[in-house]
């Protein structure tokens, strides 16, 4: 009985706080993406042909985000029937966008006008009970090009 109460409390806490954190995070992501729109992030390997040479420097951004208890429970249920695990999809989406934003912020601090050859690296540091994915870490890195003055 005590176990059940603890379980339901955790679910409720996870649902409430997780939802609040996610909404807030998405709001901040969208606002910052708008702000940094003028720095294009390009995944291509070869530089565009341009007459002015630029300075190049490595920039990177990383983030570790955890999923809440409620969503992990939902994902466990989803495992039984199969299909899209939406609760994890939003987790990795948030993590990737946040990592790219942090990389862009670093590029902006350097005065770069574009970020080139962007790579994303994803893995999980922390594994919860029974090896369930608890949190995801994303590292985004690329080359920031700054125009010569």
């Amino acid at each position: 009985m005590v176990d059940l109460i603890v379980f339901i409390t955790l679910l409720a806490l996870g649902y409430g706080f997780g939802r609040y954190a996610e909404t807030r995070h998405y709001k901040s992501i969208i606002a910052r993406e708008k702000e940094l729109q003028n720095i294009p992030v390009i995944a291509s390997k070869f530089l565009p042909v341009r007459d002015k040479p630029s300075d190049a420097a490595l920039v990177s951004g990383s983030v570790v985000i955890s999923v809440d208890y409620f969503k992990r429970f939902l994902a466990g249920l989803r495992n039984l029937v199969g299909g899209r695990v939406t609760s994890y999809e939003t987790l990795v989406d948030r993590a990737r966008r946040e990592a790219i934003l942090r990389m862009k912020e670093e590029a902006k601090a350097l005065g770069a006008h574009m970020v080139f050859n962007v790579k994303l690296e994803t893995s999980s540091i922390h594994k919860g009970r029974r090896n369930a994915v608890g949190s995801v870490e994303v590292l985004a890195y690329g080359t920031a090009l700054t125009k010569h003055r």
Partner: protein
Amino acid sequence: MVVTNIEIIPGKRIVEHLGLVQGSSVRAKHVGRDIMASFKNIFGGELKGYTELLQESREEAMDRMIQQAEAVGANAVLNVRFSTSSVAAGAAELFAYGTAVVLE
């Protein structure tokens, strides 16, 4: 030391290739951080302690790679790649590698 993950530096010529240089670092956070992280696993959200951990180990891996590049007499590392893996719960390995070159 110029470090980039593209293969050429615009406006500069590569004089000599010196081969692969690499650096890696395995780090863990103290137990307090791990306990905080397990709380965050209930509420969801960013694990700041682990983000910090990742950043520190990335910087250290880069530093080691740059040291190696300096030791072979390079002045730039091109085509840098990062690779992450988890060695144990709460510990992260970060591995950086690239090509050491001499730019004119």
